[in-house]
Symmetry: C2
Subunit: 455 residues, 2 copies
């Protein structure tokens, strides 16, 4: 429709929608005007959802992605942690099954002298969430005010909370709309959502753990690498040191899935025990956090320092301190019986002998949701006690009748359904898989070149 030649030229949402629909590149001002007007309620959901769908199908340039991230970041409060002498480094994972590394890394990096102001999310769908895991610890409060958050951070060097109303309100509003309009699955929108929240934490550096495999949102490595590169470049454009590790999520990480069970495994790792894959990934990520945080010359040095802090008990002491500062019962750390325990357990046994060649990771996550340990809808409650313990991982030899997994449950019907899901998740063959997937597929980030590091 033609415009009257004398029409005043101001921001009109429809022009921005059309430009993106036709494959154009939006200016920084256009992106900012759209985000600001939406956050203030000046443009309706139905215009923004049309724009979001155009973004999903047309994509965004790097400059547009940075502009979107920046607008969302500045839609709310950006924490000023410059009063902390230590460098501030966070870690973010794109989500997986059994991924409890955040609970290990925050105290571990803090014990090394890096400040970790970690703002996390809840589990949704087949993936777990850091906040749900923390809340399995009796009394642990993830809803600190910004003032309380600062105090915990100052006292022990790390603090772990949920998103506050002040941080990136544009993201909260946009995410709720994306969730119901089929516009979640865009690397550009995912990047802006993650990076705006993380950069609002006032950090200097960020280690991204981008998952790939059957239990990840990005099933193939190419998509994971694309998202990783996008996030790294967006962070770098905003003056932050960012590195992304593409890590494996083709089977659950560690052996425990379920909120209280995962806390137990976290404590195991902080004691120098725990399953090897989880321990290795934690050390690798810690190596990067310590390096970006300026307390290790190299990632290798950071890993060794991490191992020392675990051996010395300092990392576990830091975890105990943080739990106590955030209102949690520190005795639950040393005595798993003080964590929520499910009333019943039941074993899944192998019908045949052979080698475990694959574990359908998303099904295992879904089995935990079915038990009540996760949520399908944001408003669902979570049962912290239920979950699954895996006794066999990919590559293991199995005898007929041997226990593959133990289900921890509180109600019979969900346990039956979870059992059925688990039984279909195991692929057992006569010989082991020819190729094993690496734990760490790739490392992405300019920082890797600058360092001349072994990684």
């Amino acid at each position: 429709m033609s415009q009257s030649p004398a029409a005043v030229q101001t921001f009109r949402a429809i022009d921005v929608i059309r430009k993106k629909r036709d494959g154009g590149e939006l200016s920084r001002d256009e992106v900012a005007s759209l985000v600001n007007a939406y956050t203030l309620g000046e443009i309706p959901d139905y215009q923004v959802s049309a724009w979001l769908m155009a973004v999903v199908l047309r994509g965004m340039t790097r400059a547009e992605t940075a502009a979107l991230t920046d607008s969302m970041l500045h839609s709310g409060e950006v924490l000023d942690l410059s009063w902390l002498r230590a460098k501030k480094v966070d870690k973010h994972s794109t989500g997986g099954v059994g991924d409890k590394t955040s609970l290990v890394l925050a105290p571990l990096a803090a014990a090394a002298g890096v400040a970790v102001p970690m703002i996390s999310g809840r589990g949704l769908g087949h993936t777990g969430g850091t906040l749900d895991k923390l809340e399995a610890i009796p009394g642990f409060n993830v809803n600190l005010s910004v003032t309380e958050f600062r105090r915990v951070l100052e006292t022990c060097g790390c603090a772990m909370i949920g998103q506050t109303a002040e941080i990136a309100p544009a993201d909260r509003k946009l995410y709720a709309l994306r969730d119901v309009t089929g516009t979640v699955e865009s690397p550009y929108l995912i990047c802006a959502s993650i990076m705006s929240k993380k950069l609002a934490e006032g950090i200097d550096g960020l280690v991204l753990d981008v998952k790939t495999g059957s239990g990840a949102f990005m099933k193939n490595e190419k998509d994971a690498a694309f998202l990783a590169e996008l996030m790294v470049e967006t962070g770098e454009r905003m003056g932050k040191q960012v590195v992304a590790l593409i890590t494996d999520m083709d089977q659950p990480l560690g052996r425990m899935i379920g909120n209280a069970l995962e806390v137990v495994e976290v404590v195991d790792v902080l004691r120098g025990e725990g399953p090897e894959d989880l321990r290795q990934l934690c050390l690798e990520l810690a190596g990067w956090m310590l390096h970006l945080g300026g307390v290790a010359d190299s990632v290798e040095h950071g890993k060794r320092r991490g191992e020392e802090l675990i051996s010395s008990g300092e990392a576990l002491a830091k975890f105990r301190q943080m739990v106590e500062l955030q209102g949690g019962d520190p005795r639950a750390i040393d005595d798993p019986k003080r964590l929520p325990n499910a009333r019943h357990t039941k074993k899944i046994v192998s019908p045949k002998s052979g080698f475990l060649v694959s574990l359908q990771c998303e099904h295992i996550g879904t089995a935990c949701v079915v038990l009540g340990g996760g949520r399908e809808r944001k408003e669902d409650p979570v049962d912290p006690a239920v979950g699954i313990v895996l006794h066999k991982k990919v590559g293991d030899a199995i005898f007929a009748g041997e226990t593959l997994a133990t289900i921890h449950y509180n109600a019979e019907a969900p346990a039956l359904r979870a059992g059925q899901l688990l039984e279909t998740s195991y692929r057992i063959a006569d010989s082991p898989a020819q190729k094993t997937r690496p734990l760490i597929h790739r490392v992405i980030g300019r920082v890797t070149e600058k360092l001349g590091d072994k990684n």
Copy 2:
């Protein structure tokens, strides 16, 4: 996000959005469920606008387009005109500048014994609307009830009204949403919108006039032909005889633009006078209407019959009858002074001699809007008296100082702006254009093959 395996499978808008987003083909049921739920207010605007944008960018198959048209058609009342012995045929134009053919064709076809139940729209943007032109006739009522509409149709064989609340309510709701979400420009959505309303008229045949050129929505012939084929095939799938003429809109049709002025030109054509391009197009479209209406063996025969009905005065008498039946003053037909007249006129003169090689058609339509003769927003009022008379058309020789156009206006400031627009619309060269654009570019429709017609 994975679903619990036991989740109940019912219609969910988000699944349909995702399927279209990912390029899938929606089933008839999926399309119908979406349209029905939206019409009933069961799904929100923001989900439907995301789906509309996915349709704009992913397109639709012919089956999906037919399903969408069918769902929209059956969202409201479908007129049953089977009690009329005559065949019911309508004509629809995609809109242009100076396009007043509907006002000629309805009485002309009715005079030939074809019933014309015409439901039309208002002008928007640079294009005029049939309802605004009819309302320039003092007293003419376009808001008849369905009962009154039937009575006029029965009495004189044609009736011309605006869209009623009962006809295709899904289209009204969807169009309002498309208008504000940048999702108007999709041939699939345009096709479903037009065809659902036209087929709700209970017609047997439809002649489509798809405009192409600088004054049309489809600037190039390829896009116009694509839309035409889509509409013809959709109509044929629903058992109707449909033909589409791709006709020229690179300059205004006829010489008059503006509501009352166009009524004057309509009467000229019905008297056997008027400009040649308008007269030729009316006869061509009438030829097709009479042929589809079963009162002419061929289009050529239909054209000749149309000429006879004009010469005999029967077509004009039919127009006079319809005007009177719909409350209009029939004396205004024979005496233009009884139509609204603008208070002032002013001439646009040529600065040089030469040949008129092109007329920027959209600018001329916009000039009429600026004068108050059209509307930028649906709620704007329209001044029926103002407009533009073109004294020169493409191909004409021009002497310096000769009048190119006369502006009919009621206020000075808009007339100045309209004059500036007009002055920039004329391209005058030393020699005539090498190629002249045909009035009728192509005829599309299976009916053309079956007939072995000369067209």
